[in-house]
Each structure stands twice: as C-alpha cells, then as structure tokens.
C-alpha cells in the first residue's frame, strides 16, 4: 500500500525540530532513516498528521571520540558507523554486529537513533547499548536528560522516551584494553531480524571476567540476566557444566511466542547463541 497523507516538515535545527514536537496540535512524529517508519506508513499501522524529517538537523549527526567514551549522534547511519576508521578499535562489539543489521541498502539509510527509539525486540542496537552500558540522551523543548540503557528499554516497542522528546545521542564507553567482545545471532536469512541473539563483552575470556551479555529477539526488550552472568564469571567459556547452570536463568524470561518461533524454540536457540558466542569470546 501507499503511505497515508501527512504534512511534511524538514527543520534545519534541533530547536526547530523540538518546537514542532512540543506542539501537540501538530500530531508530529520524527522521521529518521525511514527504514522502519516508511514500512509502517505503507502498512498504515502508523498515521501521523505530521512527519518531522530529522535529516536536515546537522547537530544530530556524527561521531565524536572523547577517549574513554564515544558520542554518537542519533542521525548517524549504520553506514557512517561502518565507515568510521576507529570502529574496530573503539567499539569492536558494534563492528561485529553491524553486518547482521538488515541489508546493505537499508544500512545506507537506517540510523542508530531510529533503531533505539523504535526498540524492536529483535533489533541489535538496543542489545548492544545494554551490553556496553551506554547512556541515551533525550532532549525536548524543556531540556535534556540522560537515561542508562538498562532503564531505557521497557518492553515491546516501549521505551522511556516521552512523545515530545527526541533521542539526540548515545554515549558508549570505549573498549578497554584486553576487553573481549562476541556476537552471535540466528535469523531465518542473513539480514532478517533474529529469532535469538546475544551481544557480550567481558574484561577477560578465560576465566570469564565481568561478563555483560545482552540477549535480543527472545523477549519484549533486550535483557541481561544477572544469574546467568554470575554463573559464567570465573569459568572457562567452554565449561559445559557452567553453561548448563547459566541457562537455568532462562526460567525468568518471558519468551516471545510467535509464528517465527515458539517460546520453547526460542529458549533452545538462546542457549545455542550463548554457547556459540562464548566460543568466540
């Protein structure tokens, strides 16, 4: 189908964009890369009265490195991340995950801010933000606030963002020396949304030290399981007994049950991706 009718605005500054969102009478919705919102419009599951195209807001784009952390503007595209020469050194986990996010043509337009704001349960970026302990900056006409990733993703397409706020940037701690990263996902086809996936970092691989493992595609939002992480810390990544103990933590997960995979299948696949990611740590 075709998109329903709407008004279109393309502000050239953040303050102008925020003013359009602040006026409730506008019925405005931000448009970033459009790689999820355009399908939603064409399916008519979204019907905003106004689209506020953020592509003209220069303040929202770009990557700045302050040494121990990296600030990524919301309108930074997956493609810009992939082309950033320091990506592998500074954010190796992001480098591992990027090729799995959708397809080449979609990565040329999709943005990190769009993915985080949408909070698709199977999306990679939200899980990366959780594993990396990133902070998300939200801005409205009234001011700015920063929310840790662990408090931002609340459920199926649900976040801590208010309607008049924009995600303006994320701040991601840079990889420390010796830090290990691993990423594994199972999707029906390359580039499809995952049925189960995990993104992890640890200070050391053997024994596993300070593991942070964020699962995606298995529940309403990306999740870290403290019981699972505790069971693996101090163990070797191929310690089968420890992995068995760790996966008992899946008892607390409310697994997605849909046409793509049943809850039981997803639980099984979560164990598979965990094991395969640990082997790469």
């Amino acid at each position: 189908m075709k998109a329903p009718d709407f008004r279109y605005e393309r502000p050239e500054s953040l303050s102008a964009a925020l003013a359009l969102l602040a006026d409730e009478a506008n019925g405005a919705q931000p448009l970033a890369g459009g790689q999820s919102l355009m399908p939603m419009l064409n399916f008519r599951v979204a019907a905003p009265e106004m689209l506020v195209d953020l592509s003209g807001v220069a303040e929202l784009r770009g990557i700045s490195d302050s040494g121990d952390s990296i600030r990524i503007g919301a309108m930074t595209r997956y493609r810009d991340l992939a082309e950033w020469s320091d990506l592998e050194a500074k954010l190796p986990l992001v480098a591992l995950a990027l090729p799995h996010i959708a397809h080449h043509a979609i990565r040329n337009r999709g943005t990190i801010g769009g993915s985080i704001s949408l909070a698709d349960p199977a999306a990679e970026m939200p899980a990366l933000m959780m594993a990396l302990d990133a902070e998300i900056t939200l801005t409205s006409a009234d001011g700015e606030r920063t929310v840790p990733a662990s408090e931002f993703f609340l459920g199926f397409y649900e976040t801590a963002r208010e309607e008049n706020e924009l995600v303006t940037s994320v701040r991601v701690p840079a990889a420390t020396s010796g830090q290990r990263s691993a990423f594994y996902e199972l999707a029906p086809r390359h580039g499809d949304y995952a049925m189960a996936g995990v993104a992890m970092v640890a200070d050391a691989a053997s024994p596993i030290t300070n593991l942070r493992a964020a699962f995606f595609g298995i529940a309403g939002q990306p999740i870290r399981l403290s019981v699972l992480e505790a069971a693996l810390n101090g163990k070797a990544p191929d310690d089968e007994a420890a992995i068995t103990v760790a996966t008992a933590a899946f008892d607390e997960v409310d697994f997605i049950d849909d046409l793509k995979a049943s809850a039981a299948t997803r639980r099984h696949l979560a164990g598979v991706v965990l094991k395969r990611a640990l082997a790469e740590l």
Binding site: K2, M38, N108, R109, G191
Partner: protein, 159 residues
Amino acid sequence: MTQTQSIQLTVNGEPVNASVPVRMNLVDFLRQELGLTGSHVGCEHGVCGACTIEVDGAPIRGCLMLAVQANGATVTTVEGLADTDRADALKAAFRDRNALQCGFCTPGMLTSALSYVESGGPADRTAIREHISGNYCRCTGYQAIVDAICDVIGKEAKS
C-alpha cells in the same frame, strides 16, 4: 488536502524540477512522474529489493524514501546505468550466466551487485550472498547471479 512541495534533483545526469505530493515515495515518483519504469515495485515495505536505486552513489530502497527527501540528490536508476558503461560487464555476465529469468529483480540486483563490484568486494561467494541478501529473486536460485558477479570480479582482477 495533500501537501505538495517542489524538488530539484538530478536523475540519470539530467536536472529535474517537479512538484510532488509529500506522501509519494521516490520509486513511484521515478516510475509515474518521470516514466522511468526500470525500477520495480514489489513489496513496498523494504523487503524485496526490487526498487533498489542509487541515491548519491549508494544503493537504497526507493520505496522507503520519500520523493521530497530526494531534493538536491543525485539519483541513478537502471536506465541511467544503461547510459554509461559502468554496468556493461555485469550486464554481459548476467546474460552469459543466465542470471535472470523473468527479470523482475534484475534492475535492483544489478544496482546492488554494482556497488559490490565497484567497492572492490572479493570474489567470495559468502560475501557476495551477504551483500545481495536484501534482493529477492524468485526465479534463479541466486547461484547464477553469484556466478555472474564472480565472473566480473575475476575478469577485473586479471585485466
């Protein structure tokens, strides 16, 4: 009332001025307003890749971009590729390898394949399959398409 907006862009090397309804997507604009029906429309939600075109040198989904967003952009469609020799080797390889049957996917497939070849991608079947993973072909089974892309890379490597 439908809002319209004027846009100026370059399509296949030619300057274009038009007034477009803001809800119109780019591939519909190219097909319906400019008569460039080489770009195809399959799913209209970003999944099939039939509408893949080049905007400012990079392949994108023509169904997931509004025509108004192409204001100031440089757009190349499969017709534009035919005007230059950029895709000649790929087109010949597609013919030699039977890499098309009905041809519905071919304009998008060529655009994706060309970006792979031009960016210096290796003749590695897995990497090629990953690169074209967003372009569906319901006829060929992909094998012949991957063969054709490998052929072009092999020839360029030799010459």
